[in-house]
């Protein structure tokens, strides 16, 4: 329910063009931000990235002043939507989001894919990190083409490793009763 409300609220913010509406719609995000001040840090990072977007819009818009205003409105909307979703994600946690996906009738295959991808990221991250550290130690400086070629080879190697790992994982899942277990989450 809370996720559905957040989506509808974010959609309303996303489609608002007038400043008056945006001010009214800011009330809820401000309350969320007061209750979760931890989000402020990531908001600063988000807006630092957004400065580039405002500058691009200002320089490419037919009128410089209008471009800046448009950039600021988009930034405002972006901040409000970010606060809403960050609040919801913090409130629900991963299991809550998964339960919401079940209630939204998201296909089982997609849900399993999401869970296994998250698990896969943790598994493969260690392998990729080791490969990158080894590369740094063996060749700290490389020409551009060599660097790109090495990146390609490391990626290819990680793909092969993940394929062989997936075979073992599938066998393990089958031994534990197949994909039925995922429905009990």
């Amino acid at each position: 329910m809370i996720l559905l409300f957040a989506i509808i609220y974010a959609l309303i913010i996303s489609l608002s063009n007038s400043l008056f509406c945006l001010v009214i719609e800011s009330l809820l995000p401000v309350i969320i931000l007061i209750n979760c001040p931890g989000n402020l840090k990531s908001l600063v990072k988000l807006n630092a990235l957004n400065l580039f977007m405002i500058m691009t819009l200002a320089l490419t818009w037919p009128n410089f002043r209008e471009g800046v205003i448009m950039g600021l409105i988009i930034t405002w909307r972006l901040n409000l939507i970010y606060i809403i979703f960050a609040g919801v994600i913090a409130k629900l946690g991963f299991t809550g989001i998964y339960a919401a996906l079940v209630r939204f009738h998201v296909p089982e295959k997609l849900r399993i894919l999401l869970l296994l991808t998250m698990r896969g990221i943790f598994i493969m991250n260690n392998r990729l990190d080791s490969a990158l550290i080894a590369l740094k130690l063996r060749a700290p400086e490389m020409k551009f083409m060599t660097r790109l070629k090495t990146f390609g080879y490391i990626t290819g190697n990680i793909l092969l490793q993940s394929e062989s790992r997936s075979e073992k994982m599938l066998q393990a899942i089958k031994c534990r009763g197949g994909f039925e277990g995922f429905n009990q989450l």
């Binding site: 913010i13 996303s14 896969g120």
Partner: protein, 195 residues
């Protein structure tokens, strides 16, 4: 490549979600349940590889790896991209949840397009050239679709859209080279992987 929240119009957002839903349903239908684990681990490998910084002169970039995803996963690239973008939105705040539909459609359709165009060709002779073209083309299709989404939202975005397409031209060459190296390595080390 990600479009941020709060930029696109309602119509574009709805169209993007509709396209993504269609792509995901085809992708899931074509994915055998036993292949889900393989798709998940391959997409996590792509996710991690796309976060690696590749230095270019004084700057650095992240490669999107759309073409290798499409060429290796086929239609399954669509749901894999949706999951990857969802995780990026939740974990790193790239893109967003509302624009997920549009971003996923842009990247998914680029990956699937190169699979349909070059999926068979990279298995035969001249795979290096085909994989290079596939890598560059996937990025350019994605950049064109980003530009189109912005242009359809507001006519005033057109100059910014043209700039985005222009910026992606050198990036497409780099992606083309990276795709070529990945595919040629896979073909040399494990030819059955691509079959």
């Amino acid at each position: 490549m990600h479009i941020s929240e709060g930029i696109l119009s309602g119509g574009v957002l709805i169209a993007g979600w509709a396209g993504t839903l269609a792509g995901v349903s085809v992708g899931l239908k074509k994915t055998n349940p036993d292949k889900i684990v393989k798709v998940a681990l391959l997409s996590s490998a792509f996710f991690l590889a796309s976060l690696v910084n590749v230095k270019i002169g004084p700057s650095s970039t992240h490669l999107s790896l759309l073409a290798p995803m499409g060429l290796i996963l086929g239609w399954a690239a669509f749901p894999a991209i949706v999951v990857a973008l969802l995780l990026q939105a939740v974990l790193f705040h790239f893109g967003g949840l509302l624009v997920l539909g549009v971003n996923a459609f842009i990247m998914g359709i680029s990956a699937v397009s190169v699979y349909l165009l070059f999926g068979e060709k990279i298995r035969g002779t001249g795979s290096k050239i085909y994989s290079f073209i596939a890598g560059a083309l996937a990025v350019m299709i994605a950049a064109l679709l980003v530009g189109l989404s912005l242009g359809l939202t507001d006519g005033n975005f057109l100059t910014a859209a043209k700039l985005i397409i222009l910026v992606h031209l050198p990036l497409s060459l780099i992606e083309g080279l990276a795709t070529m190296f990945i595919i040629s390595w896979l073909k040399r080390v494990s030819p059955e992987f691509l079959s």
